[in-house]
């Protein structure tokens, strides 16, 4: 018996919009100019949200916060590709997705300020509470996708995680189950190069993360995560494929975490300033603006207006979040079970202390 090739695969990488704002017309997704302006406004709003969050944290008005700076295109591009009824299972670094999906911004601030009421997705949005424990949300996405398939609902599920999550067991278990059952799910990996202080090279020996998908029996693709067109196009195709019964897709979005891991971290301890500066040149918002200017889609008035609108929305969200009275201490009992246990009822009555 001669040796034979059992399987081979090729990993593609997609970029449509380069750092100079030049777009490959042949690859451009079908987006109207109006869509592109809307996407730009979402990107800007996400950036403004993030900058304000960092400022509020420094003033002690927000708790520990995980910045999304540099990763806005992944989040906004994929969110813009979703349909209204699609379900999302985020990790904790996708505020840009929340914003582009229409999640109330004041609730995001509320959550980061330590009020769990900020996690209660409005009834018309199917966004799971953010997931702090790395990779553990991925099986939920697969379960929901299989539930949708069982109920014959024409929806897709999308889940976000970082490159660090690909080292964990739940990632493997979930992708494997998704592959076996052809779950209508799209896996979006925000490969931002750093899991706190651990670089990609210490996370995996794989040349790409996208190639991991092939071992689960479905395609993986790498896209330039700072290119909103590449993200949008790839996510849109993957979601449509999922809805049509074509099974899962893994999208590795190659991007960079410009900020520290969280406000409790100091990235200067483990990475060089030059590296960050290199990535700042590839900024996702800047390159879209260059493109829009080149193509004559928008001029100075629009960009100034967009910045003003973003600022106003953020001002409004912050003041709304900060005007919400703190939760009633008894609230912590309310949602443990559907009904209070006899012991909880007694404990609730004893809630006279605390509050410091």
């Amino acid at each position: 018996m001669p040796e034979k090739i059992m399987e081979s695969f090729q990993v593609k990488s997609l970029q449509i919009l380069d750092e100079k704002g030049e777009a490959d017309r042949a690859l451009m997704p079908s987006l109207e100019e109006n869509d592109i302006r809307t996407i730009y406004e979402f990107l800007l709003l996400a950036r403004a949200f993030d900058e304000r969050a960092l400022a509020l944290q420094r003033e002690g008005r927000l708790g520990t916060y995980a910045s999304i700076r540099g990763q806005e295109a992944v989040q906004v591009g994929s969110a813009y590709a979703m349909e209204k009824n699609d379900w999302v299972f985020p990790s904790f670094r996708e505020s840009g997705m929340h914003i582009a999906r229409g999640y109330p911004i004041h609730m995001l601030y509320q959550f980061w300020a330590g009020d769990e009421r900020g996690l209660a997705s409005p009834p018309d949005l199917n966004i799971f509470p953010v997931c702090i424990s790395v990779s553990t949300q991925i099986p939920h996405a697969v379960g929901a996708a299989l539930a949708a398939k069982y109920k014959k609902d024409n929806i897709a599920v999308i889940t976000f995680f970082g490159e660090g999550a690909t080292s964990k067991g739940d990632f493997n278990e979930a992708l494997n189950i998704a592959g076996v059952n052809k779950a209508p799910v799209v896996f979006i990996c925000q490969n931002n190069q750093w899991a706190i202080s651990v670089p990609l090279s210490k996370q995996t020996a794989s040349k790409t993360l996208a190639q991991k998908a092939f071992s689960y029996g479905f395609p993986g693709i790498q896209v330039d995560g700072n290119d909103v067109f590449a993200v949008y196009r790839t996510a849109k195709e993957a979601l449509e494929k999922a809805r049509a019964g074509g099974g899962p897709t893994f999208i590795e979005c190659f991007t960079y975490r410009i900020s520290d891991h969280t406000t409790a971290d100091d990235a200067s301890r483990y990475r060089k300033k030059e590296e960050v500066e290199e990535w700042e040149k590839r900024d996702p918002i800047l390159r879209l603006r260059l493109h829009m200017e080149k193509e004559g889609m928008a001029g100075g008035d629009f960009f100034e207006g967009a910045a003003k609108r973003a600022r106003e929305k953020i001002d409004e969200a912050v003041s709304r979040a900060e005007s919400i009275p703190p939760p009633d201490p008894a609230d912590m009992f309310t949602f443990t079970y559907k009904e209070l246990t006899p012991r909880q009822m007694k404990q609730m009555k004893g809630l006279g202390h605390g509050g410091t």
Binding site: E116, A120, H140, L146, A148, Y337
Partner: protein, 315 residues
Amino acid sequence: MVQAINLALHEEMMRDVDIIVLGEDVGRNGGVFRVTDGLMDKYGPERVMDTPLAESGIVGMAIGMAAYGLKPVAEVQFMGFIYPAIDQLYTHAARLRSRSRGRFTCPIVVRTPYGAGVKAIEIHSESTEALFCHMAGLKVVVPSTPYNAKGLLVSALRDNDPVIFLEPTRLYRMIKEEVPEGPYTLPLGKARMVKSGKDLTIVAWGSMLHRAVNAAQDKSADVIDLMTLRPFDEEAIMESVKKTGRLMIVEEAQKTGGFASEISATVSEEAIFYLRAPVMRVASPDVVLPFPKLEGYYMPDTAHIKEKIEEILRY
């Protein structure tokens, strides 16, 4: 008990199309103990899913299904294999309702055979139920007879919160009794009085219940089958202890940190002036669960419980 649980699943799946059974070998094979026998033939592979070998994935997937609106029943083949899924149970199942402020809920049932006494290979005889009792948001149920296994499982399947349903392996085929056709429920959180008396209260659950009943045969004792460990029926225990003045808890798990400790502490806090004797726990020793050759020395047996009964009655 295997047939009773199987019957409950059959009848409830007939009643509610949102019930999905998933786990390793639950489909074609009907489960390694045949608890899910015949379900796949009747309800098809969409509702009775043979999953890859992935406990965390199974429970995690069940959480996503439940949040979406299904009623998944996940089987973990043996309790000794549930530990990879504890992350999912603690981090998500238990808190989903709370951290989403009721926007999403997690009405899953996780079934797993548990306990020693069947001469199984290592890791197949665990009784670490106390681990699950320590987490607010979970409910923990342990049946002791075919009749209550069916009624409790039907309740678990209709409950709105995550339920860990622990099936004592030793009882799967040990106790025979008629189980009525058609669904009936036994309320979660309620204990049952198996035997009534005046000198002593014995609390037990699962496989230890039967040994406790045997040991107390010729004594005037209340024997309480706890059935739900979280939330447990404090009222039934208090009422009985106030009457008898003596409390013994019999559990199969090792003594330190076992659920008996919680019951003991509760009674000490609430009813110490009614006690005529120290609260006594009969439990397994603090050792790594031995292999089958020594299993008989490990778990409490009837003689052991009898000795303790004599001791507590001397007070």
